[in-house]
């Protein structure tokens, strides 16, 4: 089974993140950059499917040059090779353009299965798997907390607010996963060493046959007009419980008309 895992490099969600002042894009320089956490679960799932069914695992990333760092990190977990879509014209791309580029790259690789995280910690948009599936005309099984592969038949448990749904499709398909699906492995020392030598190919827009006018700022279907910092919340009243903390809490709730 040929598996592509989508990996996105994102600014670390554990520190303060910014947008760039000049063009409202995500500041991908000043915050430390990490692999989108949910994608590690997708990598792990891909490796587990590979262990059981054979085949190869290919990491696919669209992002600026420094995303190679995250690609190597992803490879150190065990995937076989990587494709990095990198082109200056991609800066400022909207979700529609991004999905088109990723779909084109996936189309060239021709996998049976595309795995990805259910959402990224920077955009949190959750739309990529369905958008890519729409371009490719393949099934999207999204929000999986469990994936079963039997031949070409895929079954997931899709996590919902009420519980879960059991959804099936045949390959080729896009499957997105939540962090409930597995426990990602840590890269071994051997994995880290070998990741440096694994094949990493780059693709430009020209390689994918996409007109630069359709992506980036020029081709964007939506645009940020402006951004500003949200005023920080002010701390209010704090009491130390000396036997009546619960009553004081209810006093406050009553004053605010919650009880």
């Amino acid at each position: 089974m040929k598996i592509v895992v989508l990996v996105k490099q994102v600014p670390d969600s554990g520190v303060e993140r910014h947008l760039n002042g000049d063009d409202n894009t995500t500041d991908r320089v000043s915050a430390g950059n990490v692999i989108n956490e949910m994608d590690e679960y997708a990598i792990e799932e891909a490796l587990q499917v590979q262990q059981r069914h054979g085949g190869e695992v290919i990491v696919l990333t669209m992002g600026p040059a420094h995303a190679t760092e995250s690609i190597r990190k992803a490879l150190s977990m065990g995937p076989d090779s990587a494709v990095h879509v990198v082109d200056d014209a991609l800066r400022g791309s909207c979700a529609v353009a991004t999905s088109k580029v990723l779909a084109a790259a996936i189309g060239q690789i021709g996998p049976d299965l595309v795995l990805c995280g259910a959402e990224s910690t920077d955009g949190r948009v959750q739309v990529m798997p369905h958008m890519i599936a729409e371009w490719l005309g393949v099934a999207a099984l999204t929000g999986a907390r469990k994936l079963t592969v039997e031949g070409s038949a895929l079954t997931i448990e899709r996590q919902t607010d009420e519980g879960y749904e059991v959804v099936t499709a045949a390959t080729p398909a896009v499957v997105s996963v939540w962090d409930t699906i597995n426990e990602p492995r840590y890269p071994s020392f051997k994995g880290i060493m070998s990741a440096k030598k694994k094949p990493l190919e780059t693709r430009s827009l020209a390689d994918l046959g996409i007109d630069p006018a359709e992506v980036g700022f020029d081709g964007a279907t939506s645009a940020v007009v402006e951004h500003s910092k949200r005023p920080p919340r002010q701390a209010g009243h704090k009491v130390t419980d000396s036997g009546d903390g619960g009553v004081q809490m209810v006093d406050f709730m009553a004053a605010e008309k919650f009880v």
């Binding site: 969600s13 554990g14 520190v15 993140r17 910014h18 947008l19 409202n24 956490e37 949910m38 909207c94 979700a95 529609v96 999905s99 088109k100 910690t121 920077d122 949190r124 948009v125 739309v127 369905h130 599936a133 729409e134 393949v138 099934a139 999207a140 099984l141 999204t142 607010d161 009420e162 519980g163 749904e165 059991v166 959804v167 499709a169 398909a173 939540w178 962090d179 279907t221 939506s222 940020v224 007009v225 951004h227 500003s228 910092k229 919340r233 701390a235 209010g236 009243h237 704090k238 009491v239 130390t240 009546d244 619960g246 009553v247 809490m249 209810v250 406050f252 605010e256 919650f258 009880v259």
Partner: protein
């Protein structure tokens, strides 16, 4: 005035979701709201009264077993055809997993821009979003096509505006590509009749400090007394205290209730990402240095196993 399409979300247990009423309220600022019901046979009839009460001038009913039988794609297909035929001023959906997924497919089908997690949309189509752990306010616009927007629950106060909607049937014609992901079973796991986490006006959340799964009963007890939803930090979820669908934060749900009560939660930046737009925050934590106190309106430094039972007793006493 041009039509504004509002895609209706409903649950088996509670019918039309509150967020849909919020969308109808927001849609009235932009044009004439038309509710779009995408569901099984008979779905729209059960919802008509509620949709009428909140100002739907029209109800488009796309009813077929196939709509629920396959994941997302059929809904997007029906909606795309409708958008092409009525040329609405905007399309509004809930910023839920499914709402966003439908919107994503629609954006690709129509080559239309898409804005998600919107908290405000003005008449000129400028949308407000809060990003990066809700620390930055962003104003954006769809620059290609009509505003196709998913709106966060609890961002708008739903206001009734009774109307008498006209019902219009939509034919459901699906291609093979719409029927690739088959839903073979739906399993309900949520216990009790608590409001949904993202829609609730009060959320009582527990963290690692709650200690174990059994002690979460205390969190539930306070929640039920207040008619609240229950949330959990990731540490609580990862430790197996509470199911994942109730996780609040960066990798869980984003909530924006009137009142958020944080019990035994330290306030890591990834937790704050999911709750810091709450109107009022109450915290109980035994560590007075816990970062969550920095955004708390009323905080009790103390043991939650003493403070919470006392609060529960006090609320009961006042309720009489």
């Amino acid at each position: 005035m041009a039509e504004v399409l509002v895609v209706v979300e409903a649950t088996q247990a509670f019918g039309v979701k509150k967020v849909t009423l919020e969308l109808l309220t927001a849609a009235r600022e932009l044009g004439e709201p038309s509710a779009v019901v995408l569901g099984g046979p008979g779905a729209a009839a059960a919802m008509t009264d509620k949709l009428a009460e909140y100002g739907a001038r029209k109800i488009y009913a796309a009813e077929a077993e196939e709509i629920n039988g396959y994941l997302v794609a059929p809904k997007a297909a029906v909606l795309a055809k409708l958008v092409q035929s009525v040329a609405p001023a905007a399309v509004l959906l809930a910023s839920s997993q499914e709402g966003k997924e439908i919107a994503g497919r629609l954006a690709v089908k129509l080559g239309n821009g898409l804005l998600t997690d919107v908290v405000d949309l003005d008449a000129s189509g400028v949308a407000t979003q809060v990003v990066f752990a809700d620390s930055i306010i962003v104003k954006s616009k769809v620059s290609k096509g009509i505003p196709l927007v998913t709106v966060r629950p609890n961002a708008v106060t739903p206001v009734p505006a009774p109307a008498t909607p006209i019902r219009e049937e939509l034919t459901v014609e699906l291609s093979e590509a719409d029927k690739l992901a088959k839903v073979v079973d739906r399993v309900a796991e949520q216990k009790g009749a608590r409001p949904e986490l993202t829609e609730a006006s009060i959320v009582v959340a527990g963290g690692r400090g709650v200690g174990d799964a059994d002690s979460f009963k205390l969190v539930e007890e306070l929640a039920d007394l207040l008619g609240a939803a229950v949330g959990a930090s990731r540490a609580a979820v990862d430790s197996g205290f509470y199911p994942h669908q109730f996780q609040v934060g960066q990798t869980g749900k984003t909530v924006s209730p009137q009142l958020y009560i944080a019990l035994g939660i330290s306030g890591a930046i990834q937790h704050l990402a999911g709750m810091q737009t709450s109107k009022t925050i109450i915290t109980v934590n035994k560590d007075e240095e816990a970062p969550i106190f920095g955004l708390t309106d009323f905080g009790v430094v103390g043991d939650l196993f003493k403070v919470v039972p006392q609060a529960i007793e006090e609320i009961r006493r006042r309720k009489g």
